[in-house]
Symmetry: C2
Subunit: 476 residues, 2 copies
């Protein structure tokens, strides 16, 4: 229930934490930095996972499972990789009551252990490509935890592929970026910018990292999924070689890509309002909730009967009847608003008499989002309205993104813009300019968008010639 939810304008970070906890998406765990994903949050993750998994399989990938524990020497085989991940590691030093000869790292990501196995499995060009994904938990020690956004343990998927040629690996990296963008936009109703990471923001050990960046309700960016071109870096470190058709021996080209429970944070922050969550119908655990309204036992029986009929007519959707006694309809309305159920279906005694129900859209509070619908049109009406909500959420988020993407040319304007949202500005590409802006504003280069304008100009930071525009923003 909505227990004095802080408004977004008052304190956005606090609003976020309250929504996540009051809607029972997640809770803090007794281990610092860790969270519990509660059933409602996990159901959202299950829907998200099913849609992503379907896309992975349609693009030829299969799932597998690799070990949680990785010999610490594995990480050291790739110099940048170990440097990037060392500060975040959880290390098992005792196993079965004994101090281990070699400590084991709880996987922060699995390039190393998977690279080791690929070296064993891949012999010939006939074994390629290897297109494997893993759904798993990973651990990266987190000192400033936030539910879903930054947690010591999180759930994710990590795709790991090996290819015979550089071109194939590069194509895979961009294909999976498109899969993520398609998923984010179609399923989560979240518009994203596809782009390349700057050198300072790329994955430890990658040749190039690509990202989809989304803008949150407070104007900050959230890296929503990444896809990495690993070149031959991990193939060389782990001796992943294959015999070519001509009989030679070559290193493979590998790629990796991932999306995590962090994405749930994006759903909360992109769509939520001061009344709580708003979930996109395609991912919502409950797409509609039926609230029968009664004032007597007789009315209770009547409206619950009609509710059961309505649900039967909606069996292709995820629909819940809220039949809780001791709670008023008003309380229930607030409760489901907080939990972001896209559509509320009200059934009172007069509705039963009139053979109708009242539909109320979560995304349009008040009269505008309400409509009485005859029972015999219910199935079609709900299908239409859920589609309309899905589309409206995307349009609203896209309009917000556009309204909060400035195109500053001068440094002062750039600094002002990143306080409000995205700044799409010319950048010379130098790490110095990136560092200067970060020092002045905490904003970073979120990505160099794949879609670039024609021409060239001068860097918004230093004035040197610039060939590309970048998205600068403060980020989660």
């Amino acid at each position: 229930m909505a227990k004095n939810l802080t408004s977004r304008g008052e304190d956005y970070a606090r609003w976020y934490n309250e929504v996540v906890q009051q809607a029972e998406l997640a809770d803090y765990a007794p281990v610092r930095g860790c969270m519990v994903i509660r059933p409602y949050g996990y159901a959202l993750w299950e829907n998200l996972r099913a849609e992503l998994d379907r896309r992975f399989k349609e693009t030829g990938h299969v799932n597998a499972y690799f070990p949680l524990l990785i010999p610490s020497s594995f990480l050291e085989k790739e110099a940048e990789h170990v440097e990037g991940f060392s500060p975040e590691l959880a290390v098992v030093t005792i196993g079965g009551g004994k101090v281990l000869e070699e400590p084991l790292v709880v996987r922060p990501t699995s390039e190393t252990i998977i690279g080791h196995m690929y070296a064993k499995w891949i012999q010939s060009y006939r074994d390629l490509p290897v297109l494997i994904n893993q759904w798993s938990n990973v651990v990266r020690w987190e000192l400033r935890p936030r539910l879903f956004l930054r947690t010591t343990e999180f759930l994710w998927q990590e795709g790991h592929t090996a290819h015979a040629t550089r071109q194939e690996a590069e194509a895979e990296v961009l294909r999976m970026l498109d899969v993520y963008a398609d998923f984010a936009e179609k399923e989560a109703a979240i518009p994203v910018v596809r782009g390349r990471k700057s050198e300072s923001e790329k994955f430890a050990g990658a040749v190039a990292s690509f990202t989809i960046e989304a803008i949150m309700g407070d104007g900050r960016a959230l890296q929503s999924a990444t896809s990495h071109d690993l070149g031959q870096n991990f193939a060389r470190a782990f001796e992943i070689k294959y015999q070519t058709r001509e009989g030679g021996l070559e290193y493979c080209w590998t790629a990796s890509w991932g999306l995590s429970t962090r994405f749930i944070g994006a759903i909360v922050m992109v769509h939520g309002d001061d009344a709580g969550l708003i979930l996109p119908p395609r991912l919502a655990p409950w797409q509609a909730v039926i609230v029968p309204i009664w004032h007597s036992d007789q009315e209770r029986a009547l409206t619950l009967g009609a509710a059961a009929q309505a649900r039967a007519a909606l069996d292709m959707f995820r629909v819940k009847i809220d039949d809780r006694d001791e709670l008023t309809p008003g309380f229930k309305f607030n409760d489901w608003e907080l939990r972001g159920v896209p559509l509320r279906i009200e059934i009172g005694p007069r509705d039963v008499a009139g053979r109708q129900v009242v539909l109320a859209r979560r995304d349009k509070p008040g009269r505008e989002g309400k409509a009485a619908v005859p029972l015999d049109r219910l199935t079609a009406a709900v299908a239409e309205i859920l589609d309309a909500i899905q589309a409206a959420l995307y349009e609203r988020a896209l309009a917000f993104q556009r309204a909060h993407t400035a195109q500053p040319a001068a440094y002062g304007d750039l600094c002002a813009a990143v306080a409000e949202g995205f700044a799409l500005a010319w950048w010379c590409g130098s790490a110095d300019c990136e560092a200067k802006l970060k020092a002045d504003t905490t904003a970073t280069v979120r990505c160099i968008p794949l879609d670039q304008p024609e021409g060239r100009s001068t860097c918004a930071v230093c004035g040197a010639p610039a060939e590309k525009k970048a998205i600068f923003a403060r980020a989660y």
Copy 2:
């Protein structure tokens, strides 16, 4: 491919390891005791998981996710629990580059951390029952690893429920045992004996443990899933209390139940033969494989075209076309036999001309399992044959179980019986008799079956009065 597969008679343990690795279900990982679940094995796990998950949800359970890392002090709150699990723990002592003040245990099971959260979430009788399941990885240090059967890390599900009364908790424990038995028999075609564990074999911290026990191809038992009545043990340790309807404060009654990747080992050992795996159609990653047979490019095009048509007619099944060049049909037949695909569909040029295909059952090698089927009957024929294979595998396994369940009355016969399979014998219930048999034969009490004969008799070990029969067997 079948690379000199050891026969079961020659060396059962070796046959098992070869089948698992050659069929590419799993591979050894570079960390002692750990395994990699390869895509084919993982696809089997995905099918198994989907069927179990459906059953859990139908019985009112929801999924959630609790942390991997548990404060070591949590385990110590339940005396038997910590005693039972201490020797198997992997312990994180370093996090984020620093030695931790309190070491964290990598979960061996989650009663403790979930108990901690339930104490926070449960306030009133209105919050009960809590019916949560978790799909996750767990770690129990293993010195004598065997792929799937005993691995340091494994995947599983663990259900954790909290109830207002003892009766409700006990009902839950037996309901979930029935869910497991139904799953094992209907989906995996594995007959099981439902029963209670002896005191020495029960879960550390439980009041009573229940199990489904299956007999493997070598006569040994495999505990295939367990369901534990935890009484108020964990509720007391973690202060899981609720306010009753009358206003009092009571401890909850809790239960837990689990099934792991170990079950895949049971599928291998119950159904496999000297040619490799035999997978039950309802869980098989590929229910049928189409092998086109060609001797020329023209025949190749012809048979591949027919194969595509056949697969289109079978789109409600999981069907693969083996279009690999450079491999002979004979090689492919052996390969898919090793991998246990229930049904092979052969299409040669003469079959194309005759508008037919040849179906070959994996469970009936040779002429008996082969039949030519007209293309226009293919869909119905495959549906019937897959059902027939599923039923035949169960019947064969049940016949094996019956043939290998002796009912010895004297100790000498009991000792002889456990060398061959299950011994269903009267037992006085004393731990001494259990220990004696174990010392003499390595066999243990697998369970005290829920289905008991009428009457009473004398213990097959000591001759004292006995009220119940037990299943004694050597076990994995």
